[in-house]
């Protein structure tokens, strides 16, 4: 990946493209790339939907190579949801195909002068930018169907649905999967709205004739990759549990812990949890059968295969297997315990191009406001349809939980930096609350969803049983996550490298053999810190202060059943997270 593609949507005479060398961005991938570009090129105080904002799409450092599980892609910009820097990442085919085409980043800048839409087609011969008026108003599924008819069934598509065109703050960007379905999303922070504001409907990537990226040391790389993949396959989480039950295997456990936000974070346990658990979901999918039903990868080269395919009772394809966060957001958080209903809403989110977490949280807030009853599945579907239709109510809901809570006068709105919290109540798992509060992204589970901070040596070793340990642990996790997000590796590698030293060593060797120089723990720490420092610098310049690194007040006051706990990490402690 030795070049950057710039698409200037606001160029005089109409949108224009140019390819340039990496320059200052050499050696960066994924989140390290997106955050570096946003800090350097986007004015922090600009309006997120203005021409000054930039949308950066960057595969991970190892994407496009033969490295196992390296197909994550990052999307960065100034977020219309949070007003701060954003990196949202996704699986799907985009990272691998873009990597093989040799682009380390696509940077979309400026915006069209009118409301016209464009698409850009990239293959080995170059880049073509064309009007896409025929795609206007289409959902992601219909959009991809049209693109497939024109460009063939092997291309990877990056698209927005109606939500992105309407510039809603909950709008996502879709990446097609191995079956060319738009099921994988850079969901968080309204990145789809930024793409829509530019007037860009679709990016089509065709790697026909391109080769897999070559490592600097092929022999070492091959051996390390084999050992790494074997390590993933032999571990009970990555080789067994995730394949059998998907990420939704967390439902029962989180619920048992009393950390499962229920009915808009009113309770920590959901009576209907076992009806929507990963175990129940897998049994249902196996019973209904169909191609890739209970076990499926989201991109080529994945050996974990935590996904699946959801078919209805008559065997018709509905959506990919809804993952844990989605099942929670549209399920327990709204008092709904019907997997078919949840799958239908997942399909609607994917088609309209919406973040499932933000929409589930928003509908939870709307239910608290009285727009529907908790547990009213048809009411929830109707609210979601309003978003896709772009009605006045839908425009409110499509801008997320914070806006919806404000419009309808709801106090219990589970957001940080205006972004909705994911599926773990921070009162029960207070360390996750520290991460929600302080991450540069707004409440985000993946910002501390990795990895073996201690094993990597990030921040040194911390005594996990010390009460104050959670601040140090959150810091170390955020550093490690920022580094992993830059490689293109899936965060689910965490357990295998945590538990199996030989798998950890294989990963380090894999990265070292690919880039041609040995990696050390210090390198990982430096990379992660540098990403976070850039993101903090941007947010500071955008006007964020320590007051933005807080959970909503009610988490400190309302005790959560069954443990009757409140969030008790002090503001002073939160303010030390980034002291290194």
């Amino acid at each position: 990946m030795d070049k950057i593609l710039r698409i200037d949507m606001g160029a005089s005479g109409g949108p224009a493209v140019k390819t340039e060398a990496l320059g200052d961005y050499a050696g960066l991938g994924g989140r390290a790339m997106t955050s570096a570009v946003v800090l350097k090129e986007v004015p922090p105080t600009c309006h997120p939907l203005s021409g000054e904002n930039k949308l950066v799409i960057a595969p991970g450092l190892l994407s496009g190579s033969a490295a196992a599980v390296s197909g994550r892609i990052s999307v960065g910009c100034k977020s219309p949801l949070t007003g701060g820097i954003k990196e949202a990442n996704s699986g799907g085919q985009g990272a691998q195909v873009m990597g093989r085409l040799g682009y380390a980043a696509i940077i979309v800048e400026g915006k069209v002068a009118d409301d016209s839409l464009y698409k850009v087609f990239i293959n080995k011969d170059g880049v073509k930018l064309e009007p896409a008026g025929d795609l206007k108003g289409l959902g992601n599924y219909a959009t991809v169907e049209k693109l497939s008819a024109q460009y063939g069934k092997k291309v990877a598509c990056i698209t927005i649905g109606q939500a992105g065109e309407m510039k809603m703050s909950a709008a996502s960007i879709a990446f097609t999967d191995m079956e060319q379905r738009p099921t994988r999303h850079a969901g968080r922070g309204g990145v789809g709205a930024v793409m829509g504001s530019k007037g860009l409907k679709a990016v089509i990537l065709d790697d026909d004739g391109m080769k897999t990226r070559s490592p600097a040391d092929p022999e070492k790389f091959k051996a390390a990759n084999k050992a790494f993949a074997e390590g993933l396959r032999k571990h009970p989480v990555t080789g067994e549990g995730l394949a059998a039950f998907g990420t939704n295997m967390l439902t029962n456990v989180v619920n048992e812990a009393g950390a499962y936000p229920t009915n808009n974070f009113q309770k920590g346990q959901f009576d209907g949890a076992s009806n929507i658990s990963g175990e129940t979901q897998a049994a249902l999918e196996n019973e209904r059968g169909g191609e890739g039903s209970a076990t499926h990868g989201c991109h080529r080269g994945c050996v974990i295969r935590c996904s699946g395919t959801f078919y209805d009772k008559d065997g018709n394809y509905v959506t990919k297997q809804p993952e844990y966060e989605t099942v929670w957001a549209h399920g327990g958080n709204c008092g709904i315990d019907d997997l078919d209903v949840i799958a239908q809403m997942d399909r609607m989110d994917d088609d309209f191009g919406l973040d499932t977490i933000e929409m589930g949280a928003t509908i939870g807030v709307a239910m608290e406001a009285g727009l529907a009853e908790f547990g009213d599945s048809q009411g929830a579907i109707k609210l979601l349809q309003e978003v896709g239709d772009g009605t006045s109510l839908g425009r409110i809901l499509g801008n997320g939980a914070a806006v919806t809570g404000q419009v309808f006068g709801v106090e219990r709105v589970p957001v940080v930096k205006r972004q909705s919290m994911p599926a773990y109540d921070p009162r029960t798992v207070q360390g996750i609350g520290v991460t929600y509060a302080t991450t540069t992204m707004g409440a985000d589970h993946t910002a501390g969803y990795a990895v073996t901070a201690n094993l990597l040596g990030v921040g040194g070793s911390v005594d996990a049983l010390k009460p104050e340990g959670q601040v140090e642990l959150s810091r170390n996790l955020q550093i490690a996550t920022a580094a992993i997000d830059s490689t293109g590796m899936c965060l689910f590698i965490a357990f295998a490298i945590l538990d199996q030293p030989d798998t950890f060593n294989a990963l380090v060797d894999l990265i070292g053999a690919f880039i041609g120089q040995p990696m050390t723990a210090d390198d990982v720490t430096a990379l992660g810190k540098s990403v976070l420092e850039k993101e903090r610098e941007f947010n500071l310049a955008a006007g964020f202060t320590a007051k933005d690194d807080r959970l909503p007040d009610y988490f400190k006051k309302e005790a959560l059943a069954p443990h009757n706990v409140t969030f008790n990490v002090t503001d002073e402690e939160l303010d030390t997270v980034f002291n290194w």
């Binding site: 067994e240 456990v253 658990s277 773990y424 959670q470």
Partner: protein, 196 residues
């Protein structure tokens, strides 16, 4: 309480897993450590407990030490294999991220151990349900008839294929929809064994 013995096709034992997720009640000796309970009474091997069962909750509190946590009359114990993600790491016994959930962790029982018998609710999740569930169901567990009916309702046409023989008390009964409907309002002492 109604005693119900089902002899089922070997491939169908897993259909009863929802009972294990929700929790089954067993009469047992209490006042012992979790290790004593799980290995001594439920028959888990020490290795299985140490290696495979990575996450345990006693009355909704994550357990770090199975040799100090004590099972009591009325307790609910949930067992799971290793879980993905940060939450999975956080909930693991003795895990690196235990500080993240220190406010809800199970603390050492300081009441002292006294032998008694009592009723304990056991929940089994994911791989552990697959591997241990059959043994537990065969030994006999107490469940709500309504939960049993819910399973029967999912396979109304297949009940006779799934269940080869059913006995209620001393009498053989037909395992059809009406049987489970009749039982739905009762507590059931259920055993599920594989038909020979």
């Amino acid at each position: 309480m109604i005693q119900l013995n089902l002899h089922v096709d070997a491939s169908c034992v897993s259909l009863f897993s929802p009972l294990l997720e929700k929790g089954v009640v067993i009469q047992t000796r209490t006042g012992c450590t979790l290790r004593d309970f799980l290995c001594g009474q439920l028959g888990l091997s020490g290795d299985y407990l140490d290696q495979r069962v990575q996450t345990l909750f006693l009355d909704a509190r994550p357990v770090d030490d199975v040799d100090t946590a004590v099972i009591r009359d009325g307790s609910t114990l949930a067992l799971s294999a290793a879980m993905p993600g940060l939450l999975g790491a956080t909930m693991r016994k003795g895990g690196r991220y235990a500080a993240f959930r220190k406010d809800i962790s199970q603390h050492t029982d300081e009441c002292g151990i006294c032998e008694a018998t009592g009723r304990v609710t056991v929940k089994l999740f994911n791989m552990v349900a697959r591997e241990v569930g059959g043994r537990l169901l065969e030994a006999g567990v107490e469940v709500d008839g309504s939960d049993l009916q819910r399973i029967a309702d999912r396979y109304p046409e297949d009940l006779s294929r799934i269940i080869r023989k059913a006995r209620m008390g001393d009498h053989e009964v037909t395992p059809d929809k009406s049987l489970f409907s009749t039982l739905s309002k009762h507590r059931i002492l259920l055993s599920v064994s594989i038909a020979k």
